[in-house]
Amino acid sequence: MTITVDQAASVAVSPATRPFTRTRHILALARRSLIKTMRTPEQLIDVTLQPIIFVLVYVYLLGGAVAGNTHDYLQFLLPAIMVQTVLFGGMATGVNLNTDIKKGVFDRFRSLPIARSAPLIGSVLGDLIRYVVAMVSLFIAGYILGFRIGTNLPATVAACLLTMGFTFCVSWIIVLFGVLMREPGGVQGTAFLVLFPLTFGTTMITPASTLPGWLQTWVNVNPVNHMMEAARGLMVGGPVAEHLPWVGFWSIGLLAVFAPLAVRAYRRRT
């Protein structure tokens, strides 16, 4: 004999569906990611050293050829490298998430009465600290090498925030891979395949005028390129306004498409 209560008549609102509650859940989960990052500082070494090596290599190998001297080239390069650094940091989010899901912790989260999106958003948000660490170390290295802000501090801070916001949106592509794929190595490989044309198909290391026509076409539509140009404009001077709509459009577009896909894939993952 079975008793099943008809719940259709019940209208009690579950607290978990209130947005305020959801925000608190996301913050609690973001804090978890943050603690994890702080407890495994070796993860940060990667993020801090890699961009500095990139800067050294490009400045001393290409600086003379592209800009005539290394000092001018550094002003040109650093804002763009900052964008690349933060984007690569976003890739780590997908890899970490994949590792995390494979352990049992995410099963526990999924058995709790919280929004399905909360663990994903929490992980992505918690990783923002990694971007900040990477940016700060890049600026310190850049300053030692001779980089100087050509505009003012508020504009530079705006460039940093814009880059972080942009990466938050783009990283949902990687989060989707992180949820879908079985192995962290696979996530990393696929993320590289996506990020390489996005970060190198740009004016990051050389002005667009030297590129072949087909590549210029790609550069002109590439959202990362517009992000790099906007950062350059905000930090050392140059056009900003013409790039902002592109950055905004792509950010919202990528977020609107990939965040729901990632949450959906997470919900379906067994």
Binding site: K36, R108, T270
Partner: protein, 316 residues
């Protein structure tokens, strides 16, 4: 009229070509332990994951605490606590942080979450280790932390998916004690296990599953009656006297005793007075023993009785 704390009917789940569950029925009355006994790959974990809203069944329905797992998943999640066979705690977080996080996700206030976490750490003997990251914990400690994590929200129904697999016997006893305490508090428990001994010790009812189907169902006593005899084992203090003990065993069992080793004798028995009779006769004969025990059949023997196959077949 019975109220079930959870009930599943005709659950079917296929993964690509394999059928993990092939129409399974499970139910537990409020405040009881349902033992789900089966070998690896029988479908135990799949059934638990469906009841925990982690998986959607392809067919059938499941109701937990009066809520449908598909239509009212959020309410089901408020009712349940889940402990997987792998410890699902965050290794980079301390024991305390793990439990506080769960509390926050269950909408406890900060102070409440910390109070509940301390309380549980104390209850599970982890107070001192609470400030250390879980990766420094031993297997038994992780299992206890995992159990504690599933209890933060004081759930009415708890799923324990092979909670003692891989634990040594002393740690196993610890977990059994915790389970008994929970049942004493009125919680309903779904316990999956590969050990008949464990199901026998803890469960009010046992469902034996094999290849995604329930192949036997009943109280431990009923099940033992179906799968037949237990085995008496004796080890004499003086190995020379084992022949006398073996003679007593053989006399009562009505069949010759076997000797698995020096100073040891064993014989299958039927009936519920055989063991006490053996104890009495050995005592009367003045034979001192270092071990005298009654063993349940192993899962493999249960399966052989029920299916005519050994569990090893499953591995193929």
């Amino acid at each position: 009229m019975t109220t079930f704390a959870f009930e599943a009917e005709g659950l079917v789940k296929r993964f690509k070509k394999t059928t993990a569950l092939d129409g399974i029925d499970l139910a537990a009355r409020q405040g009881t332990v349902l033992g789900v006994l089966g070998p690896n790959g029988a479908g135990k974990t799949t059934a638990v994951r469906i009841l925990a809203t982690l998986l959607r069944p392809d067919a059938g329905r499941a109701v937990v605490g009066g809520f449908d797992v598909l239509r009212d998943a959020a309410k089901v999640r408020r009712t349940i606590g889940l402990t997987g066979q792998y410890a699902s705690v965050d290794e980079d977080l301390t024991g305390m942080e793990n439990l506080v996080l769960i509390g926050q996700l269950l909408d406890l206030r900060g102070t409440e979450a910390r109070a509940r976490a301390s309380e549980l750490l104390a209850e599970f003997g982890l107070s001192e280790a609470g400030g250390r990251t879980a990766k420094t914990y031993s297997g038994g400690m992780r299992r206890r932390l995992d159990l504690a994590a599933s209890l933060v929200g004081r759930p009415d129904v708890i799923y324990l998916d092979e909670p003692t697999t891989g634990l040594d016997p002393a740690k196993r006893e610890d977990v059994w004690g915790i389970i008994r305490r929970l049942v004493g508090d009125g919680v309903t428990i779904l316990l999956t296990t590969q050990y008949l001994e464990e199901a026998d010790a803890l469960a009010d009812d046992i469902s034996v599953i094999d290849r995604g189907k329930v192949i036997a169902n009943g109280t431990p006593a009923e099940l033992k009656r179906v799968v037949g005899g237990q085995t008496v084992f004796v080890r004499t203090a003086d190995p020379e006297r084992v022949t006398e003990a073996a003679a007593i065993l053989a006399d009562i069992a009505g069949r010759p005793a076997e000797s698995p080793g020096r100073g040891m004798a064993t014989v299958p028995v039927v009936g519920d007075t055989a063991f006490t009779e053996i104890v009495r006769r050995i005592d009367a004969a003045g034979i001192r023993v270092t071990e005298l025990s009654l063993h349940l059949p192993k899962l493999d023997e249960v399966f052989f009785t029920l299916t005519g196959r050994h569990t090893e077949d499953e591995a193929a």
